[in-house]
């Protein structure tokens, strides 16, 4: 028991001394280490995690991150090829690929960020200025395709340009340009993305004005659609009204005509038996109707009625 204790304590003391003097050092999963001897690098960078050995005092361990690191640029005001001023905010992912070179060229992450500022910002500027505004915003021609298919989409004149490469390819282009410059710092640029794009303040005001006028136009269209549809319905109504009344009139006239014809036929058939008698009867009948208090009748003694006034046959 005592012996075991003694061994344990001895080991602990040796371990403590080893750590304190720097013979052993720990490399975490997240780190990589460059060993220098009087400032001169010794061997390859240590990238495997665990316990490692070096000479005490004369050798020094420099720790660097092994993980994927972020970089977030300041928003830049950049004009596009069609002279639109926009704010572009990019973000990048990078990694210390060659710790030794990193140590030699930039030595700290702060310096590395300064280099990345230069590299990524200039690449972004180059790419954005070489393309139209729509290319930085759209990825596809989805909207325009739909418009061509006949959907009614109110769209600003300046947005009608077709996209040739699109935002995603633009990001790739920025990455490609920037990536080439990174290895000299021991850095691998993994990804560059456009995080935010917006109009600069003055332009934004104009865009708002345009949006408002676009909306007004749309509103007016709805109103006029309403009026048009209303007129259409009214027109249809008037047409149907005319149709209904005229059809009824036609039918009625037909019916009346048929009735008149039938009446004529009936009369004719009957009166044809003796037209003279009919005319005699009818004439007498009309006397009833035509002679009233205002009538003056002049008859001659030739007439049948008064002939006896003149002479008796």
């Amino acid at each position: 028991m005592k012996k075991f204790l003694h061994i344990f304590i001895t080991l602990a003391i040796i371990g403590g001394i080893a750590f304190l003097t720097g013979v052993v050092y720990v490399v975490s999963e997240t780190k990589q280490v460059v060993i220098t001897q009087f400032g001169r690098p010794v061997g390859d960078p240590v990238t495997t995690a665990g316990l490692h050995f070096k000479l005490p005092f004369i050798q020094q361990a420099h720790y660097f991150d092994k993980r994927l690191l972020g970089w977030d640029g300041d928003p830049n005001q950049i004009p596009t090829r069609d002279k639109k001023y926009i704010w572009v905010d990019t973000t990048a992912r990078w990694q210390i690929k060659d710790a030794l070179r990193f140590l030699q060229s930039v030595s700290s992450e702060r310096n590395a960020h300064a280099r990345l500022d230069d590299i990524v910002n200039s690449a972004t500027r180059d790419v954005i200025t070489a393309h139209l505004l729509v290319e930085t915003i759209r990825d596809s021609n989805r909207i325009l395709d739909q418009k061509e298919e006949g959907k009614t989409i109110a769209i600003a004149e300046e947005a009608l340009e077709r996209v040739k490469i699109g935002r995603h390819e633009l990001e790739k282009e920025i990455l490609d340009r920037a990536m080439v410059l990174a290895p000299q710092y021991g850095i691998e640029l993994v990804d560059v993305r456009v995080k935010r794009i917006n109009y600069v303040k003055d332009v934004r005001k104009k865009v708002y004005e345009r949006m408002i006028s676009e909306r007004k136009r749309a509103a007016e269209q709805y109103r006029s659609e309403g009026r048009g549809k209303s007129a259409e319905i009214k027109g249809q109504m008037e047409k149907e009204l005319k149709l209904i009344t005229s059809e009824a009139y036609r039918k009625a006239q037909g019916i009346r005509g048929t009735a008149d014809a039938e009446a004529i036929a009936v009369y004719a058939e009957a009166y044809n038996k003796d037209p003279d008698f009919y005319s005699f009867l009818k004439t007498l009948e009309t006397y009833h109707d035509t002679v009233d208090g205002n009538t003056t009748i002049i008859l001659t003694t030739d007439g049948d009625y008064y002939k006896y006034l003149k002479k008796l046959d």
């Binding site: 999963e29 994927l68 989805r142 947005a159 009026r227 549809k229 048929t258 009735a259 002049i298 009625y305």
Partner: protein
């Protein structure tokens, strides 16, 4: 005098005692150290992992194993280090707004985050888009060792993805019809990026919340909605008038036709009646035409003549009736 003890003697005696004591205690010092070591060692040896966690064990910085919830042992004195990671917990990130105090009625921060929420749509308009991302740790090892700032990645990439998607839709689509589609696609794209960076984070859900036009433009958008209502109203009113007029006209048309039919019946029946009457009269007349004719004539004259105001009976030799009429104008009678 023997037992007289000078102060020096006293001091010496005391020193001796202390020395003896020190010798006695000296035996126990290693044991005490060992006890301390064991106590501290035990404290660093036993650890527990909560039910919603996973423990990641590193030995001298190197990842060696992961442990499930419960009580576990590890090597002490900084040889093995444990990092508990909450893998069941769902985290939430908010974009364009912040919840100040969550509750039954959540309170939101008054401050706005236009730099986060304003984005350009495919038709080059500006929208204020707010959304949330819920995520959890899907791979604790990747989370700890592959990226330095997993949360920063979630935030930055959410914005990247959302802006890119909104760039492919029109204002109206983002506002209304394509919200679901955008949420769905954004979730897929975000997951792709997070996987690419090996963040060890799984997106549980991504939801678009408020999507609004910027404040200055809002009234114009409302006007469009009003105009839409107005259009519906106009159409409804037109149909109302239509429905009012057409059935009535149809009824009136039927009436016109019925009237004609009535006329028809009336006319034909009258004709038939008159024809019958004529025929009947005629048949009787045929039996004695001259007499009947004479009689009918005289009867008529008898009925008609008294009604006339004035009657003149003239000789046919009288050439003109004018003199008579002139007399008449003076009020004279024959």
């Amino acid at each position: 005098m023997d037992d007289f003890r000078s102060p020096e003697d006293l001091f010496r005696e005391e020193a001796k005692k202390v020395k003896q004591m020190g010798k006695d205690y000296g035996k126990y010092i290693p044991i005490m150290i060992a006890a301390l070591v064991i106590i501290f060692g035990l404290q660093g040896t036993i650890y527990s992992i909560g039910p919603d966690e996973v423990g990641v064990i590193q030995r001298f910085g190197k990842y060696v194993r992961g442990t499930e919830p419960g009580l576990h042992f590890k090597l002490p004195f900084g040889v093995e280090k444990v990092t508990p990671i909450k893998v069941k917990k769902i985290f939430k990130e908010e974009f364009g707004f912040r919840t100040a105090r969550a509750g039954i009625k959540s309170v939101y921060a008054v401050r706005q985050f236009p730099e986060e929420s304003l984005m350009l749509t495919g038709d080059l308009n500006i929208l204020d888009v707010r959304w949330i991302v819920q995520y959890r740790v899907s791979d604790p090892v990747k989370l700890l060792f592959m990226t330095r700032d997993p949360l920063g990645n979630v935030r930055a990439m959410s914005e990247v993805v959302m802006r890119r998607l909104c760039g492919n839709y029109t204002v109206d689509e983002v506002l209304t019809t394509k919200r679901e589609e955008i949420s769905r696609l954004a979730q897929v794209e975000l997951q792709k990026l997070l996987d690419k960076y090996r963040t060890g984070i799984g997106v549980v859900t991504l939801k678009l919340l408020d999507v609004n036009p910027p404040d200055t433009v809002k009234p114009a958008f409302n006007e469009v909605n009003e105009a839409k209502q107005e259009r519906e109203r106009m159409i409804n009113e037109a149909w109302e008038a239509y429905n009012k007029a057409i059935p009535r006209a149809k009824g009136e048309a039927l009436r016109t036709v019925s009237q004609a039919e009535g006329y028809s019946l009336d006319k034909v029946n009258r004709a038939k009646g008159e024809a019958d009457r004529f025929l009947v009269t005629w048949r009787e007349y045929k039996k004695a035409p001259d007499i009947t004719k004479q009689r009918l004539y005289l009867e008529t004259m008898a009925a008609v003549l008294p009604r006339a105001e004035r009657k003149f009976v003239m000789d046919p030799q009288q050439s003109s009736i004018l003199p008579l009429l002139r007399l008449d104008q003076k009020g004279g009678t024959e």
